[in-house]
């Protein structure tokens, strides 16, 4: 019964199983692995003849119990996870009943579905290649099962050819198959949120600055903003509680509204500049944007503080198309906002309060006073550092009059604090500043160490940006963190590849890899309806949705036809002569009765056999038997004798008549 399942088949099955499940390790509940150990143990027991194969009842019972148990454990993780676990469970339990080819078919198909699931979770190029390896492993299993008569070398060659042949089809499907939105909601894995968080302590952004992870990349339809204009606003923090900056309840409410699709309507002014973001997964909903931007196609919704929120957390590399209206002023303020943005704890930081009171008592315009505050950061002994000394409970006092060394949050926080002491509405803005422009690839790379905090002050009827960091360390804003703090930049990460970039060759390599990764993100991961539409438009002109479907069907059929032609090569086929066609008809007539002509049997022998074995109606038997012999003679004459054209025609007619008479 199990003769078809050889040792190397079992090894391949195990290899497929382990590579696939370990690739999904993070998503799979540990119970599955316990179950896998049991099942594989049993399977090996059967293989070595120590254990009997489980009965059908046992199998069913195991399946039902396993499913029930697993559902109980993972159901809270959402439908997608539950379904995935069901598939993995089937994949695992299949070890108990690998008794027929059909079982291995099921195993292979399940494995391929799991490879598809793997692609849901992993999006990088390397992982894509690995997924292909997994798929090929399963195909190799099928190959070794169904082409056992071929040598392994031939099997590998054949498999390689099949995979190569299927690639153009896959590409066609990918490029042109009309895309429907997914019918399920992807689960948000239990991943930690990354990037900027909702509250900011003075040390937070300095912490983020130690990471060289990608935050997002951007490309611009027209020109790139100058380095000191690259302020990517992520969120505004309007509440200070003496030790940290956070979002007030009204902002939290606004975020809630925006995540459910609410859009703050303002009239955009001036020239529009379109740009695209490829966001790395942050598992949060914020979207970095240049002031003032709006999303397209309702994916990123504008809020009253002029920041954007996505409707779902960014759990995968996501592309967003945004439009910036640089001339639009941030006018919006309401009473609650005005109040909230001047609110401070009643006590604390007495030195600063005294200094602010002194400032307030001076004559001069608000603008002059603001300048005076900023001048203080340049004029005195303030220093910009990633490792500021710790601050006591009176943070602002300690910083302004004590340590005088800090990172952007320290400066922005103190500035906003003083503004509020002066009665001017002010808020802290966190986001990213700068980024590395790759002129060849045409995209801007923003990493976590570009995280930044600055201030916005409501002045002259609009929110205006003030960045105190630009006064203490202008090179941070102009050239980025690496040049601003050459000694502290990524100091905790001595092996960071980014540090090797002083070597021109490595730098070149790094840039090439980054470009490739960017293209992958833009053209593969975020190849959506719109990109598809643009592509089709470029190749085939304007096509509507149904046109696209027809186009797809047409191209698909054309590809299939091309591949069939390539495979069958009809132009190389031997053309059947008339007598051969007649012979085929004769064979067809007697197929059920006697059978076809056998390999190596001549036509004469075949006709003789028909004469002996076929059932004829009694009246016509003699005539038909005679005709069969004549048929063979005529056929042989036509095929092998040198006949003149006329003779040939006559014999052919005779052959036709004989066929009718048989």
């Amino acid at each position: 019964m199990e003769t078809f399942l050889k040792r190397h088949h079992l090894l391949l099955i195990l290899l497929c199983y382990f590579t696939t499940t370990f690739s999904l390790f993070a998503q799979i509940h540990w119970l599955i692995f316990v179950l896998a150990l049991l099942c594989i143990g049993w399977r090996l027991g059967i293989y070595f003849g120590r254990l009997a194969a489980p009965s059908v009842m046992v199998n069913r019972l195991a399946a039902i119990l396993g499913a029930a148990l697993l559902m109980g454990v993972v159901f809270s993780q959402g439908l997608f996870s539950a379904m995935m676990h069901l598939i993995v469970l089937g994949y695992t339990l299949k070890f108990l009943e690998l008794s027929a080819r059909r079982d291995i078919n099921v195993f292979i198909c399940t494995g391929l579905v799991l490879v598809a699931v793997f692609y849901v979770f992993e999006t990088s190029i390397l992982m894509a290649l690995w997924g292909m390896v997994l798929a090929v492993l399963h195909l190799a299993l099928a190959m070794s099962l169904y082409s056992a008569h071929l040598s392994q070398h031939r099997q590998a060659k054949y498999l390689g050819r099949l995979v190569l042949v299927s690639l153009p089809l896959a590409l066609l499907l990918f490029l042109l198959l009309p895309r429907l939105p997914p019918m399920w909601k992807l689960p948000l894995q239990n991943q930690a949120k990354t990037g900027l968080s909702d509250t900011v302590n003075p040390g937070d952004i300095a912490e983020l600055s130690r990471s060289s992870e990608l935050a997002f990349r951007a490309s611009f339809a027209a020109e790139v903003p100058a380095p000191n204009e690259r302020y990517w606003r992520v969120m505004t923090l309007d509440q200070y509680q003496g030790n940290q900056w956070s979002q007030s309840q009204s902002i939290k409410n606004a975020i809630d509204v925006a995540q459910r699709g609410g859009h703050f309507n303002i009239e955009m002014q001036g020239v529009m500049q379109a740009y695209e973001l490829i966001l790395e997964p942050s598992y949060q909903t914020w979207v970095p944007s240049l002031a003032v931007s709006q999303g397209r196609a309702n994916r990123a919704n504008l809020m009253a503080n002029y920041t954007l929120r996505n409707e779902i957390p960014i759990g995968q590399r996501t592309m967003l198309r945004l439009q910036q209206f640089a001339d639009t002023k941030m006018h919006y303020i309401d009473l609650t906002m005005a109040r909230q943005n001047t609110l401070l704890p009643n006590t604390g930081n007495e030195q600063t309060r005294a200094w602010a009171a002194q400032l307030a008592a001076q004559s001069g315009s608000t603008q002059q006073k603001i300048n005076q505050v900023l001048q203080r950061f340049t004029g005195e002994r303030f220093s910009y550092t990633l490792k500021p000394p710790p601050l006591g409970p009176q943070q602002i006092d300690d910083f302004l009059f004590g340590t005088q060394a800090g990172f952007c949050v320290h400066y922005a926080g103190s500035f906003v604090y003083i503004m509020r002491l002066l009665g001017i509405p002010a808020r802290m803005v966190t986001g990213y500043q700068g980024g590395e422009w790759d002129p060849e690839g045409g995209f801007l790379t923003v990493r976590q160490y570009d995280a930044h905090a600055w201030a916005e002050v409501y002045l002259d009827g609009r929110w205006q940006r003030f960045d105190p960091t630009a006064f203490v360390a202008p090179e941070r804003v102009e050239q980025g963190l690496e040049l601003a703090l050459p000694n502290e930049f990524l100091a905790d990460d001595p092996l960071s590849l980014l540090k090797l970039r002083s070597n021109p060759m490595l730098n070149q390599l790094y840039l090439a890899m980054a470009q490739f990764d960017y293209l992958w993100a833009v053209w593969v991961l975020n190849y959506d309806n719109q990109k598809q539409f643009e592509l089709i438009k470029r190749w085939f002109g304007e096509v509507d949705f149904f046109g696209q479907i027809w186009l797809f069907i047409g191209l698909f059929v054309a590809t299939i036809v091309f591949m069939l032609l390539w495979h069958l090569k009809p132009w190389q086929r031997v053309r059947l002569s008339v007598e051969d066609k007649l012979l085929l008809r004769l064979q067809k007539r007697f197929k059920a009765n006697v059978g076809e002509r056998q390999q190596g049997e001549t036509v004469t022998d075949y006709c003789l056999r028909l004469r002996e074995e076929a059932d004829f109606s009694p009246q016509l038997a003699a005539q038909q038997r005679a005709n069969l012999l004549k048929f063979a003679q005529c056929y042989n004459a036509l095929k092998y004798a040198p006949l003149r054209e006329q003779q040939r025609q006559e014999t052919l007619d005779q052959l036709r008549q004989l066929l009718r008479g048989i």
Binding site: V574, Q598, G600, T602, Y640, P642
Partner: protein, 301 residues
Amino acid sequence: MRNTVAPILSQLNQVVLGKEQQVELALVCILAGGHLLIEDLPGMGKTTLAQGLATTLGLSYHRVQFTSDMLPADILGVSIFDPQQQAFHFHKGPIFNQVLLADEINRASPKTQSALLEAMAEQQISIDSETYALPEPFFVIATQNPLDQAGTFPLPESQLDRFMMRIELGFPDPKAELAMLQGQQFSEVTKVIDVAQLLLMQQQVKAVSASESVLNYLLRLIGHSRYNATYPNPLSPRCSKTLLQAAKAKAWVAGRDYLLPDDVQAVFPAVADHRLGLLGGPQASGAALSETLLHAVDPLV
């Protein structure tokens, strides 16, 4: 000329009773101009068939009984010093006949066996730097005992390849044997045709047309034996030539001017068995191999 085929066959069938197929093959072999090897146990009628064939076709023949102490000169002839003319004079041996009946050829030593080589291939012999042409036509009809019989030297492959056909007679069926015992065997063998007629027949055999598809089939048969590990001894180009000649003769005997795959199949075992089989191996293996070969290659494509 074809009307003489029937009388020849009927006379031979009365000499060797109940062996129509083998008799026809033997005639086909002669018509195709090939040498014939008849192999069977002693007393099966090998020599009778060979003699009958020679007589019926009106050929001069000489029978040589091969023994293990036989020397090449016993077959080819010998140069003897003539004291009167003070010169060596060549005395022609039994090979200078249109038919040489080499009885029990595998009893002779290899040296003697190979003396036949040149004669069979070139239709001439060379002795003492003199070359003597053999008569036209020239046939070697050899009989041999199965190799597992005591006191035999197996024929080398090179010599086996020079025999167009090897046929086995086999035991007669009871009816034929009964007829033999009742004395119905024809003892008076007479000449049916003469040499000129035989040569004419051979020419007509050569004129049988072979279409491309039949030649293709023949080549596929031969090729299959070469590119397939099942066959220890692949068939030579000489074999393909021989096969074509034999098949043509078969077609001609069947009354056709063109070759059919059936003809090729009919002569194939006789032509190929002794070439496919392993030397010294069981004799049946050659027959089995040619059988599988015929089944493996389809006459139509």
